[in-house]
C-alpha cells in the first residue's frame, strides 16, 4: 500500500490530484468548524453583496455567506457522490467480469438486461428509484449507484473479455479453480486500470446528478448548503450576481478535475509493469 502511494506521488498527475483531494478531504472534515460565518444566517441588508472584506466570496440572494456555505457543503456533497460511484462501480465491475467469464448464453442474457436498463436515461432511472424509495440523500445515493451500474458493467466486460482469453485464466480453469476465485482474484485485478479511470470520471457526474436530484427536490433539501443545490438556486440570479453560481460551480469543477488527475495517476501506479 505504501508502495502504491509512493508510485502514485511520483507522477505529476497523481501528486496534484492527491494534493487537491487531501484539501477537499480536510474541507469535508473541518469545513463547518473553519467556516467564518453561520452558513444559514440570513442577512437582508447584505443581499447580493459582491466579494469583499465582509464576505470573501460574496453573499447570495438571502445574504448568506457563500464561502461558509461552500465549506459546510463539502461534507454533504463529496462523500455521498463518492459513495454512490464506488457502489455503482463495484456492482458493475463484478457483473461485467462475471458476464465475460461465463460467456455464451449467460453473457448474452446478462448484457441484454444491462442494455435494457441502459436504455433508460440515468436521471430518469434515478428519479424513478428515488420516488419509489422515498426522498433523502441516502436513497439518492443508492439510486445513483444503481444508475451507474450498467455503464460500468459494459466497460468492465469489454476489458474482461480480453483477460478471459489469457492463458492464466485457462490455467486456472484447467486447475479446477472455483468460479468466484477466477472472477475475483484472477480476472478482476487485471481489469482494474480502465475501471479506475472510468470511476474517477463518474464521480463528477455523480456530483451533478446529486445536484439535479436536489434541484428537483428529491435529494438534499433547502436550505442545506449542498453544492449542486447552490448552483440550482443561484441559477436565477446569474446576471445579477454571477459569483453565487460561479463559486459552487468552480468547486464542483475542481473536485471533478482532482478525481480525474487521481485516476490518471492511479492508472500508472496500479500497473506493476511500470518501472518508474
Amino acid at each position: 500500500m505504501t508502495d502504491l502511494l509512493r508510485r502514485l506521488l511520483r507522477t505529476p498527475q497523481g501528486a496534484i490530484g492527491s494534493a487537491l483531494l487531501v484539501l477537499l478531504a480536510l474541507l469535508c472534515l473541518l469545513g463547518p468548524e473553519l467556516a467564518p460565518r453561520d452558513p444559514e444566517a440570513i442577512d437582508f441588508l447584505g443581499r447580493f453583496r459582491p466579494p469583499g472584506a465582509q464576505n470573501w466570496l460574496g453573499a447570495d440572494q438571502l445574504g448568506r455567506d457563500v464561502l461558509s456555505r461552500l465549506m459546510t457543503g463539502a461534507r454533504s456533497t463529496i462523500p455521498l457522490a463518492l459513495l454512490a460511484t464506488l457502489l455503482g462501480t463495484l456492482a458493475g465491475a463484478v457483473i461485467g467480469t462475471l458476464s465475460a467469464y461465463l460467456g455464451g448464453r449467460w453473457d448474452e442474457a446478462i448484457m441484454r438486461n444491462v442494455d435494457a436498463v441502459m436504455a433508460i436515461p440515468g436521471l430518469l432511472l434515478a428519479l424513478l428509484l428515488v420516488s419509489s424509495l422515498g426522498k433523502g440523500s441516502l436513497n439518492a445515493t443508492l439510486a445513483i449507484a444503481i444508475a451507474f451500474t450498467p455503464g460500468m458493467a459494459r466497460v468492465t466486460r469489454s476489458v474482461a473479455l480480453n483477460v478471459r482469453a489469457q492463458d492464466y485464466v485457462k490455467a486456472a480453469l484447467a486447475r479446477g479453480e472455483h468460479a468466484s476465485f477466477i472472477v475475483l482474484r484472477e480476472m478482476l485485478p487485471n481489469v482494474v486500470g480502465p475501471v479506475v479511470v472510468e470511476t474517477t470520471i463518474r464521480v463528477a457526474f455523480a456530483v451533478m446528478l446529486f445536484a439535479t436530484l436536489s434541484f428537483l427536490g428529491l435529494g438534499a433539501q433547502p436550505p442545506a448548503p449542498e453544492w449542486g443545490l447552490m448552483v440550482a438556486e443561484a441559477r436565477r440570479f446569474v446576471h445579477q450576481a454571477p459569483w453565487i453560481i460561479l463559486a459552487p460551480a468552480l468547486a464542483i469543477g475542481v473536485t471533478a478535475i482532482a478525481f480525474n488527475l487521481l485516476g490518471d495517476g492511479l492508472r500508472d501506479a496500479l500497473n506493476p509493469r511500470d518501472e518508474r
Binding site: Q166, A171, L173, R175, E177, P189, N190, R276
Partner: protein, 530 residues
Amino acid sequence: MTAAPPASPVLAIENYSLDYTLRQGTARVLDGVNLSIGKGEVVGLVGESGSGKSSLAWAIMRHLPRNAVEASGRLSLGRLDLRGLDAKGLQAVRGKRIGMVFQDPSTALNPTLRLGEQVIEVLMRHRGLGRAEARDAAEAALAEVELRDPAALMRRYPHEASGGEKQRVVIATAFATAPELILFDEPTTALDVITGARILELFARLRERTGVAALYISHDLGLVSRVADRVSVLRQGRIVEEGAPEAVFLDPRHDYTRRLVAAVPRPHRRLVDDAAGGDTVLAADGLSVRYGRRRLFRPPPPPATKAVSLEVRAGEILGVVGESGSGKSSLARGLTGLAEFDGGIHATGRRLDHARKMDKAYRRAVQIVFQHPDSSLNPRMRIGDILARPLKLYGGALSDIPALLEQVRLPADYARKYPHQLSGGEKQRVAIARAFAARPSLVICDEITAALDVSVQAQVIEWLLALRRQHGTAYLFITHDLNLIRQIAHRIAVMQQGELVDLRDAAAIDAPDAHPYTRALIAASPAPVG
C-alpha cells in the same frame, strides 16, 4: 563458398552503433557493427531475441523509433549514404532500391485492400507505370512467385488467401521493383513447416533468376546456414562471429556460437534413453473437440479434432506434431476440460465423458503448460502466490515453494517477484514449476518452447527431462518442431486436419511405411548441417 566480399558491396555497414534513450538512461542496441553484402550475395544475420537484429533492419530502412540515437558509423547503399537522406530521398530508396519481407504476412498486408491493389500501387509508384501496365506487371510478378492463377488471386482480399499465398504476395511485391537489396526478417517463422520450406525453395529460385542481394535475418542458425552465403552472428548488438555457414556451424570459434550450435535440435541425437513404463496414465477414446454452439438452421461447425484415440503410458514422452490448425492444441484443450468434447477419457481409474466430470484427482494428475509464458502467469500476482494455488487446491505445504523454485533452478527470493520482472525463459520455468506443484502423472506441454530462443529451449528441455527422471512424469509434448521431438519422444503422433494420421515409435518415424504426410513433414524439416 569462402568469404571474400566483392569489391563494390551493395550494402556496406561500417562501425555502426545505435542507442535507445530510455528513462533509465541510454541502452546500446548495436555496437560497432560491420557488415557488407556484395552483389548477388545472401548474408544471414543470426541472433536471439534482444540481440538487435531487427533494429539493424530498421536502421537500414531508415525507420527508427523517436528515441533512437545513432552514435556512430556509416550505412551506404552502393555509393549512396543512407544516413544523409531526406524524406524525399528515402521515398526513392524504400521499396524501390531496398525491399523488405516481414515475419507475419497477415499483418504486412492491408486487410481492406485487394491483394492485386497492393502490388499495383507499389508498381505505379516505383516504376512509374500506368494503371493498365501496372496490372499486367503485377500479374507477371505474382506468376513469378509461382502462385497459381494470379489474376484470380489479385481480386481476393488478404483474409481470403492462405498464409503461404500472402507471404508469396509480399515477396512478389518486394521483387517487383527489381531492388538491389531485399531484407528478409524471419520470413518463414509465422508459417507452417511445409509452407515455410516451399517459401525457402522459392527464394532460392528467385535469387538465382534475379541475382538480388539479400540480408536474411533469423533466430534459426540451422535455417540460415541453408540459405546464406555468409553468416554473421549477432549477440547483444555486437557481431561475434562471421564466415561461411559450414565453417560457423561445424567449427564455431566464439563461445556463444558454440552454445547456439549445440542448442540446435538434431533428430538423431537422442536425449532420452530409457523406455516408458507399462501402465496407462491416460487414454483418449474417440475424443473429438468441437467449437461453437449448434445454431438453428445452420450446420454445426466441423470438429477441430475428429475421434482421436491414443494412450499415454507412465513416464512416457508422447510427441504430437502437425501444422497449425491440425487440431493438436484442441486435443490439449479437450484433455484439460477447456473445451467441450465427445468421446471419452480414461484416467485415474475412471472413464470421463464430459468436462464437468473432471474431479480434483483428474485435475491434479493432468497438468498443462501453455505456449506463451507472458500470458500464462497472472501479471498481478507474485510468483509465490502463483505457485501457492496448486498447493492450496491439491494439498501441499506453502513451505514447499522454495523447493519448487529450486527444481527449476530459480532462487527462492523469486517468490516475491512479479512475472514481468522475469525473462521469458524464467517465466516458462515458473509455469513448469506450477504444473509440478500438483505432483502430476501427466503434463501436457503445448508448444512450450516455441516462444523461446534456441539456447533457452535447450535448457528448458534439459530441465523437463531432469524433472521426469526425478518424478517419473509422462509428457504429452505438442510441437511443430519435428527435429526437437525426435530427440526426446518415445512415440510420435502426427495430426493433419483434425485427424490422427500416424502414431509410431520415434525411432521408426522415417520408416518407409510411414504416412505420406509424416514423410512430407520430415522432408520439410531437414536436419541441420553437421
